[in-house]
């Protein structure tokens, strides 16, 4: 049964729910924001999450992982989406570790994955170069020089880029055009290497991002992940996993905003009745419930596709990301509107969901990007 959770999975979800509610509620994000926390997430919390095994949840047991697959990962991410918990789980585990797992040499896997699993090492993917997701439009260059490569270029919207220990840089190693799937290579670079300058960017959702520039950064050819010039298949496979994982987090974000809104409809009284008795609001809420049900099936199918039939990923990944983009947009907007005046105050947490929704909508492809990709995959 791919679309119904089993006992073990339900248990994991309950554990995650209890954990995030107790240790990292939305209030925790507010605190990080208000005190301008230097790391942007609680390193203590991350340590505990790693102790629970979640930093290695998708990794094989050989590297100290839990090997729960993406279904397990998705459940934890969904719960962390409900509480808007800031952690490097997505950037370091889903994106970083997947890249090493899918593209790395056995030496890289053996040295890096166990460290990711214990939470000691964090990774970030330095991919985007413009304000829209264009994974094959890469102008950053890595030029061979003896046994090394010299990297020059500028990256933006690097998730957890300012706090990661190591960066995975997508660079062009051959070809003149800046827009091509060919000629791309992935490099593992120390985040503090000479020539790297990192500017932390303060985003709407109070999570962590960075603009990073590379000025003659020297990296050994041995630190290439996978083949030179041939990174695209690995990168695409990683991105599809990332899109599905972030969609699972977005599901949690949407569900929580929706639950809080339905709760408010049952509590707020105007004209001597609960506002939830107004049909204008009931129908909009019921419509949102319908969209949630469709998205729920898409997410479950997408997560199990990663685990069971990864060759079918592109279509379902684009479906999941596009659908969840639309869902979080709809629900976060309606959530604010249905709360009335208090909905636009910083005091109420609904605004945090609205802002997180907007940032996630841009991560690894906006709605237009994925609809276009889905259409192409369907042959039109």
């Amino acid at each position: 049964m791919a679309l119904v959770l089993n006992e073990e999975q339900r248990l994991l979800q309950d554990t995650a729910k209890d954990f995030f509610t107790a240790n990292a509620p939305v209030e925790a994000l507010r605190t990080l924001r208000d005190k301008g926390d230097a790391t942007g997430y609680s390193t203590e919390l991350w340590k505990t999450m790693a102790e629970l095994g979640w930093a290695g949840i998708i990794l094989p047991e050989a590297y100290g992982g839990l090997d729960f697959g993406f279904m397990g990962l998705g459940l934890v991410l969904e719960e962390s989406g409900r509480t808007l918990t800031a952690s490097p789980m997505f950037s370091s585990v889903v994106v970083g570790a997947s890249t090493i797992l899918l593209g790395g040499s056995s030496r890289q896997k053996e040295t890096l994955l166990p460290e990711i699993t214990t939470g000691q090492l964090t990774l970030a993917l330095a991919l985007e170069e413009s304000h829209h997701h264009r994974p094959t439009t890469i102008a950053t260059r890595a030029t061979a020089e003896g046994a090394n490569y010299i990297i020059n270029g500028r990256k933006t919207f690097v998730l957890d880029g300012h706090s990661a220990d190591k960066l995975i840089v997508v660079a062009r190693t051959s070809g003149e055009q800046s827009e091509s799937e060919q000629g791309l290579t992935l490099f593992l670079v120390d985040a503090r290497a000479p020539g790297i300058s990192c500017q932390r960017t303060t985003m709407a959702d109070s999570r962590n991002c960075a603009n990073i520039s590379f000025d003659n950064v020297i990296v050994s050819a041995e630190d290439a992940i996978g083949e030179i010039d041939a990174a695209w298949p690995v990168l695409e496979a990683v991105l599809d996993r990332a899109r599905i994982a972030i969609a699972a987090e977005m599901m949690g974000c949407a569900l929580e905003a929706f639950d809080r809104t339905v709760g408010y409809l049952k509590e707020r009284v105007q004209f001597d009745v609960h506002i939830g008795s107004f049909q204008a609001l009931q129908h909009r809420a019921a419509h949102m419930q319908s969209e949630i049900e469709l998205c729920r099936s898409v997410i479950l199918q997408a997560l199990s596709t990663v685990d069971d039939s990864p060759e079918q990923l592109p279509l379902i990944a684009s479906l999941a990301k596009a659908k969840l983009n639309e869902l979080v947009k709809l629900i976060s907007n309606e959530a604010v509107q249905m709360h009335g005046g208090i909905g636009v105050t910083d005091e109420l947490e609904i605004g945090f969901f609205l802002k997180r929704a907007r940032v996630t909508m841009q991560i690894y492809g906006d709605t237009g990007f994925h609809k276009n990709r889905y259409a192409r995959l369907c042959g039109y």
Partner: protein, 401 residues
């Protein structure tokens, strides 16, 4: 371990099903169809073709007209999962349903749940064998969405009920042999508590039927008048004045059916992305019109999600997991059907506007007729607005106004 074993058995079941269908389903019955080329059963019925007859009789004798119903009443005695596999395998080879039947879709499940042994013996096998064509007498001129306000009276005359009133929008009442009705048996109590569920033979004196023409050009449904109609007392299903709960249980089947219509029945109507290839210009492998390309991808994505959700609701039923998914499917499924029809019309341009005659292919005309019919899908079986009311109340628990 146990589960693995049963899965293996199911694989075997699938293979046997496949082999049986391969041998028994005539090739002509694996073509897309329109409802009027299909067998509906009934006293006055005739098969549209020899192959249709052969196909129906083979399925009937094999117990596969309704695989999930008990063998004692002509069903196949199969589990839901086996039934699903049979449907999947039929769909895979594009096999037609051997019979279209409101009796199977709606009345049968209610009879099996609420009928007496005698009633089941009398009616269920007749449904499976295609002997009786049923129609549904719920709506009245004054009672549509507010179904519980039905007025058609059934008075207890000692040895029979005397029925007076009228039903409307009764699909295929002019062809049907019997009608199942909601009738008012107690006007003095809260409206839901004075309704009974009554079966009436359409040949009973006092019944007359007037067809109503639809915007699709068909006359699918009728107004049915009942003038001093005498109905035997053992035609009452369930207890007197408990018809409302039977009606509601039956509506669940109707809504599930309508939700699945788009994705389950093989029809002549072309899929929008196939139509796009035929009717639209492409540039560099893409549909040149950005608006239509956008609408098409929205539709395809939505149908992809709906298909997965049908699958999920099925798995949930298997696992006895309760979720809201089943409750939203009538709404999302029928709304999607309307979108599909609009999209097809837009893709075909003026070729999609042909009503009849020369200048248009059969498929084009059919597309337009189905477009008109699609407007009815969000009305019949409870309107979209009523579906949203039900979700708001039963899923979200919102207070009633």
């Amino acid at each position: 371990m146990k589960q693995e074993l049963s899965l293996e058995n199911l694989d075997q079941f699938r293979e046997e099903t496949r082999a049986w269908l391969e041998e028994n389903c005539p090739p002509s019955q694996r073509q897309p169809t329109t409802p009027d080329q299909q067998y509906w059963g009934g006293r006055r019925s005739s098969f549209p073709s020899e192959d249709a007859k052969l196909w129906f009789e083979r399925m009937r004798d094999h117990g596969w007209v309704v695989p999930e119903w008990p063998r004692a009443y002509g069903g196949g005695g199969h589990s839901d999962l086996e039934g699903k596999i049979i449907k999947q395998e039929m769909k895979r080879i594009k096999a037609r349903a051997p019979i279209l039947s409101i009796g199977i879709w709606m009345l049968g499940p209610a009879l099996l749940e609420y009928g007496t042994e005698e009633q089941k013996q009398q009616h269920v096998r007749a449904i499976v064998n295609g002997d009786i064509w049923w129609c549904q007498g719920y709506s009245e001129p004054g009672s549509g969405s507010d179904l519980a306000s039905v007025q058609m009276k059934a008075e207890d005359m000692g040895d029979h009920y005397l029925v007076n009133g009228s039903k409307i929008w009764t699909t295929k009442a002019d062809k049907a042999d019997w009608i199942f009705c909601l009738v008012r048996t107690d006007p003095s109590v809260k409206k839901q508590l004075g309704i009974s569920f009554l079966l009436i033979d359409m040949e009973t004196p006092g019944i007359s039927v007037t067809p109503i023409s639809l915007i699709s050009g068909e006359s699918e449904f009728c107004q049915t008048f009942f003038d001093n109609v005498k109905v035997p007392k053992n035609n009452l299903i369930g207890k007197l004045n408990t018809g409302w709960s039977i009606a509601k249980a039956l509506l669940v089947h109707e809504r599930k059916l309508m939700a699945e219509m788009g994705s389950e029945t093989p029809r002549a109507a072309i899929a929008p992305n196939a139509a796009a290839r035929e009717y639209l210009e492409f540039e560099n492998g893409q549909i040149a019109d950005p608006q239509l390309r956008g609408e098409l991808v929205d539709y395809d994505m939505n149908m992809h999600a709906i298909g997965l959700t049908h699958f999920r609701t099925f798995e949930e039923r298997q696992e006895k997991v309760h979720s809201a998914a089943a409750m939203v499917m009538k709404y999302v499924g029928t709304e999607a059907e309307k979108v599909k029809s609009e999209l097809l019309l837009a893709i075909m341009g003026s070729q999609g506007l042909g009503w009849e005659g020369e200048g248009f292919s059969e498929e084009e005309i059919d597309t337009l007729r189905l477009w008109a019919m699609s407007k009815a899908m969000t009305i019949a079986g409870g309107t979209s607005e009523i579906q949203l009311n039900v979700i708001a109340k039963n899923v979200l628990g919102l207070p009633q106004s």
